[in-house]
């Protein structure tokens, strides 16, 4: 078993030599070894390959000079695993005749080195046979089923099976997979009189170019074809691989269909984190296409008097709303999410039903949303908090087009169409900067209650900059400001302006449209609200109870599905 990472690898030559090349798509749990041998700030995929290689018995790995991280992975593996076959193919970035000749020379050298390592030899006849008989590796993206009706194109950097499985779970059909090694390998036998290896080497270079190649005209054409067939694009990037963000930046403006960017770090933990985004995106695609919700509700339908409960299980608080068929809120409540999501959900459900004076059996449907929505066993259906915030915001103010939600552990910006459908959204997570947690940390450092932070900031008289983007750094900055006897009010205001900067950046990425609304627990902080309004140059609409907007949206989805 010999690993490879890149579509420009001469897999067919390795097969012709009797090797067993395997495309490396590791899903790891940590980067302990890679962070030691490489560096924490290099591409997560390169790090995961190192972890995979260290943990399993590969005879070697054939890498390409595809990017800086993989080149350094090669240097590191070669220094550490001297008994294994560690090879780097220097793949040209042009696809000219001279480049093909150069590539053929590279492949020949690799074949000679592998022969010396393994004793297996290369024969042109074996390669010819493979090119003749073998239609290529069949990649999941190539599978097309006509029975499903939501079509997405996968693009960007390599994604593991996690994302593909998630799309399949949601009933979305992947019409094309233009991720790193996602497309089908397909080569033809070079014509008579043409050098076999040079012909094959040229074809390798003329595959749909990835972004390492100098000329990507053919890629543009391919993207045009793909996107004509798709309802939306899921654009996947890998943490610390920056190459694809350039294309994303161009495409998101240029494409006429919605594009969702998701970033993972190839760890299993990450798959859960992107679930919300992908589901919300598919919900918005389905809505735009006039399709029924992807996940059917299992409630009682068509009844005149209806009672639904929406539960928003967030990382910090769990909120619930009881609503009747007239869309009147009968009760609402909020508690801190404890260590167990389902227990907090159970408790808030009992609380709000008690408030409303309703027995549990009178509830027709329970809809869950929020980060913990899939962990609430008694919910009849779940909808992402993106869609729920969109729906909930319009309940309070039908003019709202852009929502800023700052919760305990993440923050998001959502843009709605005039009709109230989610058009675009971005989320910030994995990093506490710009979230409620950031404020909690800063309040602690300033020795203030979190509820005092906002009112304190309003008394500020001098502008103080908190420049660090990182919570840990910012905390140190606050400590040094305290040491310099800077007023607490000024520091608190600086903290809020830092949050506002982050929030403004999120809002800018969705292309904000007035009217604006702020939701989530942080909307209770007048210091943040003022700072965001100043940065935005517009007023934010606030509702009395900004924590329950998601739960209201969930309840409204419940009513809609009962009425359907």
């Amino acid at each position: 078993m010999i690993g490879y990472v890149c579509k420009y690898t001469p897999v067919e030559v390795l097969r012709a030599m009797g090797a067993d090349p395997v495309l490396l798509e590791p899903s790891v749990t940590d980067f302990n070894l890679a962070d030691t041998l490489l560096h924490p700030n290099i591409c997560s995929y390169a790090k995961s390959v190192l972890e995979e290689f260290a943990g399993k018995n590969y005879e070697g790995v054939v890498l390409t000079s595809c990017c800086d991280s993989i080149r350094r992975l090669y240097d590191t593996l070669r220094a550490r695993y001297r008994q294994k076959f560690i090879w780097l193919l220097d793949v040209p970035r042009h696809d000219s005749e001279a480049a093909a000749q150069l590539n053929a020379g590279q492949i020949r050298r690799m074949a000679e080195a592998y022969a010396a390592f393994s004793g297996k030899t290369f024969s042109e006849d074996a390669l010819r046979e493979i090119l003749l008989c073998h239609a290529g590796d069949f990649r999941p993206g190539a599978e097309i089923s006509s029975t499903r009706n939501l079509r997405v194109a996968l693009m960007g950097n390599r994604c593991g099976s996690g994302l593909r499985n998630l799309l399949a779970d949601c009933g979305a059909q992947v019409v094309a997979d233009l991720t790193c090694a996602g497309e089908e390998r397909s080569f033809h036998l070079p014509g008579e009189g043409e050098d076999l290896l040079a012909g094959y080497a040229g074809q390798l270079l003329r595959q749909v170019p990835c972004l390492r190649m100098a000329d990507d005209t053919a890629r543009e054409e391919r993207i045009g074809l793909i996107t004509a067939q798709a309802d939306g694009v899921i654009y996947h990037t890998v943490k610390f691989c920056d190459i694809y963000s350039y294309e994303y930046a161009v495409l998101r403006d240029r494409l006429k269909i919605p594009v969702l960017k998701v970033e993972t770090d190839t760890t299993r933990q990450c798959e859960g984190q992107i679930r919300t985004r992908v589901e919300a995106f598919l919900e918005s695609l389905a809505a735009a296409k006039g399709l029924r919700p992807i996940r059917p509700a299992a409630g009682k339908r068509g009844e005149k008097h209806m009672t639904v409960v929406g539960i928003d299980s967030g990382s910090t608080s769990t909120n619930a709303v009881v609503m009747n068929e007239k869309k009147e809120i009968l009760a609402s409540g909020s508690i801190r999410t404890g260590a167990k999501t389902s227990a907090s959900a159970e408790k808030i459900l009992a609380d709000v039903l008690r408030q409303a004076g309703l027995p549990r059996e009178n509830v027709d449907l329970i809809v869950s949303t929020g980060y913990g929505r899939v962990s609430i066993p008694f919910a009849d259906r779940s909808v992402t908090e993106i869609s729920c915030h969109g729906k909930g915001a319009r309940y309070f103010d039908p003019q709202v087009r852009t929502i800023l939600d700052i919760g305990g552990q993440d923050s998001k910006a959502i843009r709605l169409s005039e009709a109230g459908e989610v058009e675009d959204f971005v989320m910030n997570d994995k990093c506490a900067a710009g979230t409620g947690r950031f404020l909690e940390a800063m309040a602690r450092t300033l020795e203030l209650e979190i509820s005092e932070l906002g009112p304190t900031a309003l008394k500020s008289t001098e502008a103080v900059e908190i420049s660090s983007m990182c919570t840990v750094f910012a905390e140190s900055e606050v400590i040094s400001l305290i040491a310099r006897n800077q007023e607490k009010a000024d520091i608190a205001n600086g903290v809020h302006r830092a949050i506002a900067g982050k929030a403004y950046s999120l809002l800018s990425r969705v292309g904000p449209e007035p009217e604006f609304m702020m939701t989530g627990g942080v909307a209770r902080n007048p210091g943040v609200v003022r700072a965001v309004e100043e940065k935005l140059g517009a007023k934010l609409f606030l509702c009395e109870d900004p924590e329950i907007v998601g739960a209201v949206g969930a309840a409204l989805y419940g009513l809609e599905s009962l009425e359907a």
Binding site: N41, D90, S505
Partner: protein, 425 residues
């Protein structure tokens, strides 16, 4: 009062509504700074460095004032060839550094991230992209980049083509030298010559290129000689001057002023008193605005960066009789290109040749090629008997560093290196 920051704030205020005016102010600022360096520079700065500083700022100011005669390049692009067509190479790293000199990097970096560029990308690239997006940098005659060393180049230049229609040429440089690899690069250089002829209306003048290479060879002889003299003589410098040196060793190499500078440098070092203090070999970029490192390394007799790998990335004699082949070989055999082992060995050899006591590698945010090899480099230096510090940080974005963390690491390292306890200059 920090004059650069105050001036930068005036530029910043104009960026949203009047980006052209902000661009004009940047150009004026560069011309003023060039004049200041030539006539009112810090008295501690040696004459050769005053000349370098003034020229380095002035040529960029001139280039931005005459955009038809400048090219966006990366730091490794064949400046010698471009000069023969009357084009000034201004690398995007250089532009990004100068904008940071006006304390503007935060707004441009945020701008780039807002359009969708990865936050984990090198802040030089983000700063440059954000500034072009903001409309403060005039479009050049063309872009020329090599594929070597940094992933960002091919994509940043492509982005500029897509978004702003700036035509760009990519020179694909193989990882290792071979006769066919050299021919492959020469063929691309010929293609570039065709583009340059078309763009500038000038004919390719091989004799002029030979002359540039001759000046380059002499410049590097002076440079090496100067570094040898630096072993026995002190010669004050700053982290910023290490960066300005890149305009001499790379972007303007082969020009007469660069030759004049290196001659001046070589002659002037001899006039300085005997060397004292600890001698540091710097690896990769110097974070010129980092307060702790500034306090220890700018004009300090106790600790000095005496040389760095970037300015020494290709010191071989070039064959002026075969100028295109020489340029091709120069790019392929650059110590930053190819396997990291090549660079590690070169760093160890330079550190020994120029009698360095210790080495510091600065792992700049977003630079995978440098961070990914840090441990290999440290091992090589350990074998050579030279202690090495790996410092993580951001050479450009002031918000992305924490002074306390850098201070602790750097001071502890100075204690390890020995001599007197850490003392800022």
């Amino acid at each position: 009062m920090n004059v650069a920051k105050v001036y930068g704030d005036a530029v910043r205020r104009r960026i949203p509504d009047r980006p052209e005016r902000a661009g004009e102010l940047i150009r004026t600022g560069l011309h003023l700074e060039s004049f200041r360096c030539a006539h009112f520079a810090d008295r501690r700065m040696p004459k050769a460095y005053r000349f370098l500083n003034s020229k380095a700022v002035g040529v960029v100011g001139d280039a931005l004032s005459h955009p038809e005669s400048y090219a966006w390049t990366n730091i490794f692009a064949p400046a010698e060839l471009m000069q023969t067509f009357g084009l000034t190479c201004v690398s995007m790293e250089c532009l990004a550094s100068y904008l940071s000199g006006f304390w503007l990097e935060d707004c441009f970096i945020d701008r780039a991230e807002d359009v969708g560029i990865a936050s984990t990308l090198c802040s030089y690239h983000k700063n440059f992209i954000g500034a072009v997006e903001a409309g403060v940098i005039p479009k050049p005659a063309l872009g020329v980049t090599t594929s070597m060393v940094c992933d960002g180049n091919v994509n940043t230049f492509r982005y500029m083509k897509r978004r702003f229609g700036v035509e760009s040429c990519v020179l694909d440089i193989p990882q290792e030298w071979s006769p066919e690899g050299e021919r492959y690069v020469v063929e691309q250089l010929r293609g570039l010559i065709g583009v340059l002829e078309h763009r500038t209306g000038r004919k390719y003048d091989e004799d002029a290129l030979r002359e540039a290479i001759r000046r380059e060879n002499r410049s590097k002889e002076y440079f090496r000689d100067a570094l040898r003299r630096r072993v026995t003589h002190s010669y004050p410098n700053t982290l910023t001057l290490v960066l300005f040196l890149l305009l001499a060793t790379h972007l303007n190499i082969g020009s007469q002023w660069v030759l004049d500078f290196f001659r001046m440098l070589d002659e002037e070092i001899e006039t300085y008193p005997p060397a004292t203090g600890k001698r540091l070999f710097w690896i990769h970029i110097t974070p010129y605005s980092q307060p702790t490192l500034q306090s220890y390394l700018n004009y300090n007799d106790r600790y000095a960066v005496v040389c760095d790998d970037f300015n020494l990335d290709y010191m071989e004699h070039m064959d002026e009789e075969h100028p295109l082949e020489a340029l091709a070989r120069k790019m392929i055999c650059n110590i930053y290109n190819g396997p990291f082992e090549r660079k590690a060995e070169a760093c160890a050899a330079y550190a020994k040749e120029f009698r360095c006591d210790a080495a510091v590698e600065f792992c700049h945010w977003g630079c995978k090629q440098s961070a990914g090899g840090a441990m290999l480099l440290k091992e090589k230096m350990r074998q050579t008997g030279i202690p090495m510090l790996i410092l993580d940080g951001d050479a450009l974005d002031r918000r992305n560093n924490h002074d306390g963390q850098i201070r602790t690491r750097f001071e502890a390292f100075l204690e390890v290196v020995g001599g007197e306890k850490g003392e800022a200059g």
